[in-house]
Symmetry: C2
DNA sequence: GTCCGACCTCAAGTTACTTGAGGTTCAAGG
DNA sequence: CCTTGAACCTCAAGTAACTTGAGGTCGGAC
């Protein structure tokens, strides 16, 4: 059992974001202390982490919401399985794109250091494309 | 020389986005035909692609703008070099995080297929965390 | 007991686009 | 030549996902 601040830190997001998710129905209404302060448990953290992961992949909140609802309703697994497959493919594509960009930047930086840093002159950003 | 539609397609973004970037001063005011239609060249494409790449890394538009301005002003290269280094580090971290998530999803899917698909029952989303 | 950091609510602001309305322009076919 | 549908134009308004701000309460260390 922990506070919203601790929850947010563990899930790597801001406190207002957690409250926002609750307001949007992505997180269940949190239990409260007498004082009105929210209290969270392990399940809440798990759910929040999952939301954040999906958001990192740019899955819209609405889709995250319906996916979580799907799980809660105990609907057939095939639907979520298909979704995960899709996400995994997206991840792999993204990894490839990032590797490509990494290489591009490295080349650009090498050019930059070789030709332009000694003279302290400008370097051509577009050469990186 | 090509139209805004062709430019957008080549840079993998929408036509309104290109116009938006122009309005925000990220793209230079495009040349126009008599008709008022915008006309673009290779340099424009290069610039737009760079903007999109940086945006894919969640670099805010303001930062993209100042970076491009830096290049245009012919300021010392060290500043942009540092920026690229930073971006490259971010990319590498992101690749690692994505690989991790990929593995997690794969494991989850395997569980899902083994334990839950035959019975067509629900599978626990949180087991993936 | 008091003080500071963490919590509360509610409203408004921000970023980066997207969508819609209402109207020209271009180019391929009849 | 004419027309017709896709692509272009401007300007205003809408959207997603947060973030920030104002104004106030709570908790626990000194």
């Amino acid at each position: 059992m922990f506070t919203i601040g601790v929850l947010a830190r563990k899930a790597q997001c801001s406190v207002p974001t957690v409250r926002y998710y609750e307001a949007q129905g992505l997180m269940p209404p949190a239990e409260r202390r007498e004082s009105g302060h929210r209290v969270y448990g392990r399940a809440d953290l798990a759910r929040l982490v999952m939301i954040r992961r999906l958001r990192d992949l740019d899955v819209p909140l609405e889709r995250v919401k319906s996916l979580l609802a799907l799980e809660a309703n105990g609907k057939p697994c095939a639907e979520t399985l298909a979704f995960f497959q899709e996400q995994r493919d997206a991840i792999r594509q993204r990894i490839e794109a990032l590797k490509d960009l990494d290489l591009t930047l490295s080349l650009h930086m090498a050019n930059c250091q070789a030709g332009c840093l000694p003279a302290n002159g400008p370097c051509d950003l577009y050469s990186a494309i």
